[in-house]
Each structure stands twice: as C-alpha cells, then as structure tokens.
C-alpha cells in the first residue's frame, strides 16, 4: 500500500504575526516556519500505519518554493520514505493546489491520501475535499481514528455534534483532526537518516494561479480594554450594569 501525505509549510502556529504596513500581506520578518500541525498529524498517522504494516510506502509532497525542502526533511525524519517537491514560485489558491496535487496523484497512484483538515495560516479547510472531488474518490474529513484492512479504510471522524464512523473503499482521501494522534518527537537518528532519503524536485504541470485573490490584510480591531474585578459580588454588579443576570 502507498500513502501520499500532503504537507504545507506554514508560519509557526505559535508566532504572533501582524500585517505588512501597506496591507499587502502578512509580515513574516523574523517569523519561523514549520510543517502545518495537521499535516504533522497526517505524517505521524502514516508512520504508525507503516509500523503495523512495513510494506507501506510513505511519500510526502509539497507544492512551494525551494525553502519547503525544510518541511519535507522533517517529514522524512518522522518516517516518510521519500518526498516530492513541486517547485514553484507561483501563487496558488486551494482550487489550483488541488489541481496540482491531482497531477501528483495521477503519477504516483497512491491508495490513500492523508492530509491536514486545514492549514493554520490560511485556515481554508478546502484542499482535501476539492482533491477528493476531482479524483472522484471518497473522503473522510476530520479523522480521529483510521484503520486499513481488506482494501477498505474505516475512519472515525469528528462531527459538529460528536463522532461518526465511515467505511470507505480505497483509494480515498482522509483529512486529519487534532485527536488522531500526537506527533512524535524527532531524534537525531531520524534527522541523520532523512539526509539519505530522496527528495524529487519537479516542475508544476498546471498553470497555478489564484481566483481567490488577497486584496488586503489587516489587524483585527482590538476589543476595548477590560476591567479587573475583586470579587464575585463585584463581577455580578458589573454584569447587571451590562444587562446580564439582573
């Protein structure tokens, strides 16, 4: 079985970021980048599946600039077997990303695509579902448990009100949610081993481009400064004066 894991390089999710002065984008001066946390969960899941079934091959793929090799290195260090960088300086939106990923899928023919439910920079939550639709494959988004057997995936997924379990014929697209697993810590051994694993650099085969264009990025209007109260009694008085619980 072959698992393709889609990985995005994103702004460190714990960094505080602001807009560029002219509003043309996000100011990333001195900001670190990392693997999108949900994609890290996807890699971890693939590696755990491979630990159960060593015949599994794990291929990590990123679409982006040459700096993204850093994130692919991390995927390899976690346990992916090889990586593909679709190297481009073009801008993409989720729709054009799904087309480029579709091309990678057509050339790799994986049985399963594991990816994050959302990238924590754009918070779009679109690429996995769009890719599944383009391929005509079944999808299970927001996965919190994944099992493979007999050409099928059994996936428990988070819903708005609880959980449901789906059975999907393979090939299928699965997107990860937070509770699926806790990604491992990467040791030196993994990092050293990753160096000998191949990263295949390819040119994009689709035109890319964005139909959802960024016009402006701005800060969120701050909430008015709050007030500290000294007791529950004072809290109640303040709430009553604002029309609550009176």
């Amino acid at each position: 079985m072959k698992i393709l894991v889609a990985v995005k390089r994103v702004i460190d999710p714990y960094a505080k970021v602001g807009p560029l002065a002219d509003g043309s984008g996000i100011d990333t001066t001195n900001v670190k980048f990392d693997v999108n946390p949900f994609d890290e969960i996807a890699i971890e899941e693939a590696v755990r599946q491979k630990e159960k079934d060593p015949s599994i091959e794990i291929v990590a793929v990123t679409i982006g600039g040459s700096e993204c090799t850093e994130q692919l290195q991390k995927a390899l260090a976690m346990g992916a077997d090889r990586a593909i960088l679709v190297e481009t300086d073009q801008a993409y939106d989720p729709s054009s990303l799904s087309k480029e990923l579709e091309a990678v899928v057509r050339s790799e023919s994986p049985d399963v695509i594991l990816m994050g439910k959302q990238a924590t920079d754009g918070d779009n939550n679109q690429v996995g579902q769009m890719l599944a639709a383009r391929l005509g494959w079944p999808q299970a988004t927001f996965a919190c448990n994944v099992q493979f057997s007999g050409g099928k995936a059994t996936v428990s997924r988070e819903t708005d009100t609880g959980e449901e379990t789906l059975e999907l014929p393979l090939p299928a697209v699965i997107t990860t949610d937070l509770r699926l697993n806790e990604p491992r810590y990467i040791g030196i051994a993994g990092i050293v081993k990753a160096r000998s694993k191949p990263i295949d650099r390819r040119a994009p085969v689709t035109p890319g481009g964005t139909r959802v264009r960024s016009v402006k990025v701005e800060s969120v209007p701050a909430r008015a400064a709050g007030k500290k109260v000294a007791s529950v009694e004072e809290l109640m008085n303040e709430l009553s004066s604002r029309g609550v619980g009176a």
Binding site: E158, E164, V232, G245
Partner: protein, 297 residues
C-alpha cells in the same frame, strides 16, 4: 445571472442565512438538505432534497452540483458539516471557494479571518459560481416570517461511503454555536467527571452551553465537539465565561464575537485578561459555585 442558493443542512440553518443573503444583495433560494419547511426569510423558492437524514458529503456534493446551474453563489453556514460538503462541491464544480466569511463587500469581495483569527483578509473572487461558508454572527438576523413549505425534489443520496455508526453527545444542553451563555473550562478541570460536575453543572444551572479548550479536549477532560477556537467551534454568545483558560491565540480566535467575556483565572498575568471585559483573579473552584448561585437567581 446573479442568484444565491443557500444550502441549509437543516431548517434552523436557513435562519442564519437571511442576513448573509441581504449583505450580498442577491435574490436567493433555499435548499433544505433535511426538513420540509423553512422559516420565512424572503427566499424566492424553497426546495428540499427529500432526505430524512444527511448522507455522507460525497452524496451531498453531487446532489447540490446537479442544481447549481442557475446560481452565481452557493453558500452555507460555517460548520464542520458544511466545510466537508461544500469544499467537495467546489471541487466538483471547479469553483473558487471562500471559507468563514464574516463580511461581504458586494457579491465578489469578502472579509475572513486568517492565521487563527489574528488577521482579517479581504479577498476578491473571480469565478462563477462562487462557493462560500459564512459565520452568521457577522450578519444581521431579521425576525423570520411564516414558515414556507418546500418543493420536494426527491434527490438521490447515494454515497460511495458506508456510515457504520454515529454517536452524538451533549444531550439536552444548547448547541455552542446557538447558546446565549457559554461556560468554558480548560486544563485545570483535571478530569471528565470534574469537568462535567463543575462546568456542565454551571451550564445547566444557567441554561447555557459548555465549552472547552483544546488542552481540555486533548487530555480527555472534555469531549471534542465542545472545543472552542481556531480549530474548534466559533461562538458568539451574549456572555462567555472562561474558567481556567489561559487565553491562547487559538482559543481567542473562537470567542472574539462574544458580547461580554468574563475570565476567571488564578494567574493575574494570564493573556485571557487582555481580551476579557471582566476579569476575576480567583480559583475557579471557589468562584464558579458562587457565581452560579448568583446567576441562577
């Protein structure tokens, strides 16, 4: 032709769409994925799939794609179920999509939060149709008129996927996204029993919903569907009480639209106090029972 199809997963969903349709300034129809009648929100047509329960999202996406012909915009209230199905729909239609719209500047320019709600991006969209999910709290909520019976389309709902089981928790408490009062707890709630007793008990006493941080969900203190924040639910109650919540960017992303935020935390320097309207430096185990008594009255 410019026309909006509001895809309502259930009839209450339609209610949240009235203000959004108004902001777009387009004539609109409602498609009820479940239910037979919609609240009167000014739709020209009310259609229904005829489904008694929601099929998996591949079935929803292909059914809606079959109706998409006459529409320039297809939109739903933001939720996990709508993101699941509408992004697949956008893939089917090769349509551009905008998630979590909080404001519309005309029919093809929208505002949405990015990077855990710490920034707002304005996007311009080229394409027809455009697929959208929107957060109702950003739009006005007109009082609904008389219910309108739907025209049943008897759409197929066949899926490649088999649903093996469904579990729903939460019981009788109001839904987080609808609740007027929310009490949320974080890591210091220790375990599931304590969370249910302290936070759940508070919620029941004041007729509110219970919420949680990711730290609480990750450590098994609270069920996943109670997670509030960037990667959980986005809430907009009249009163949000955060007890033992540090106030991470990711958590704040989910609560910014609350009218009043109250924070109870033992650490006077906790970041939650920077956005709370009212902050009380106290042990939640002492403060909450007292507050619960007083709010109950």
């Amino acid at each position: 032709m410019s026309r909006l199809l509001l895809v309502a997963f259930d009839p209450t969903d339609a209610l949240g769409g009235a203000g959004f349709a108004g902001a777009l300034g387009l004539p609109f129809d409602v498609l009820l994925l479940t239910g037979q009648a919609a609240p009167g929100i000014g739709a020209e047509k009310v259609l229904a799939t005829g489904w008694t329960e929601l099929p998996p999202s591949d079935a929803i996406a292909s059914a809606v794609a079959g109706l998409a012909g006459g529409y320039s915009h297809l939109a739903s209230v933001s939720a996990m179920r709508s993101k699941d199905a509408l992004a697949r729909l956008a893939g089917h239609l090769d349509a551009p999509m905008v998630t979590d719209v909080i404001a519309a500047e005309g029919p093809s320019q929208f505002k949405r939060p990015i990077v855990a709600g710490s920034l707002i991006e304005t996007v311009a969209v080229d394409g027809n149709p455009i697929v959208l999910t929107f957060r109702p709290s950003g739009f006005s909520k007109p009082a609904p008129g008389a219910e309108v019976a739907a025209d049943n389309l008897n759409l197929p709902g066949t899926s490649a996927v088999t649903r093996v089981s469904v579990s729903s928790r939460g019981g009788a408490r109001p839904d987080l996204t609808q609740a007027k009062v929310i009490i949320s707890g974080g890591r210091p709630l220790k375990d599931a029993d304590t969370f249910e007793r302290v936070i759940g008990g508070f919620a029941d006493a004041v007729g509110g919903a219970a919420g949680a941080t990711r730290a609480a969900v990750d450590s098994g203190i609270a069920p996943n569907e109670l997670q509030v924040g960037q990667t959980g639910k986005i809430v907009a109650p009249d009163l949000y009480i955060a007890a033992g919540v540090s106030g991470s960017t990711q958590h704040m992303a989910g609560i910014k639209d609350s009218k009043i935020i109250v924070a109870i935390n033992t650490d006077p320097d906790a970041p939650i106090f920077e956005i709370a309207d009212l902050g009380l430096v106290a042990d939640l185990y002492q403060a909450l029972p007292e507050l619960q008594e007083k709010l109950k009255k």
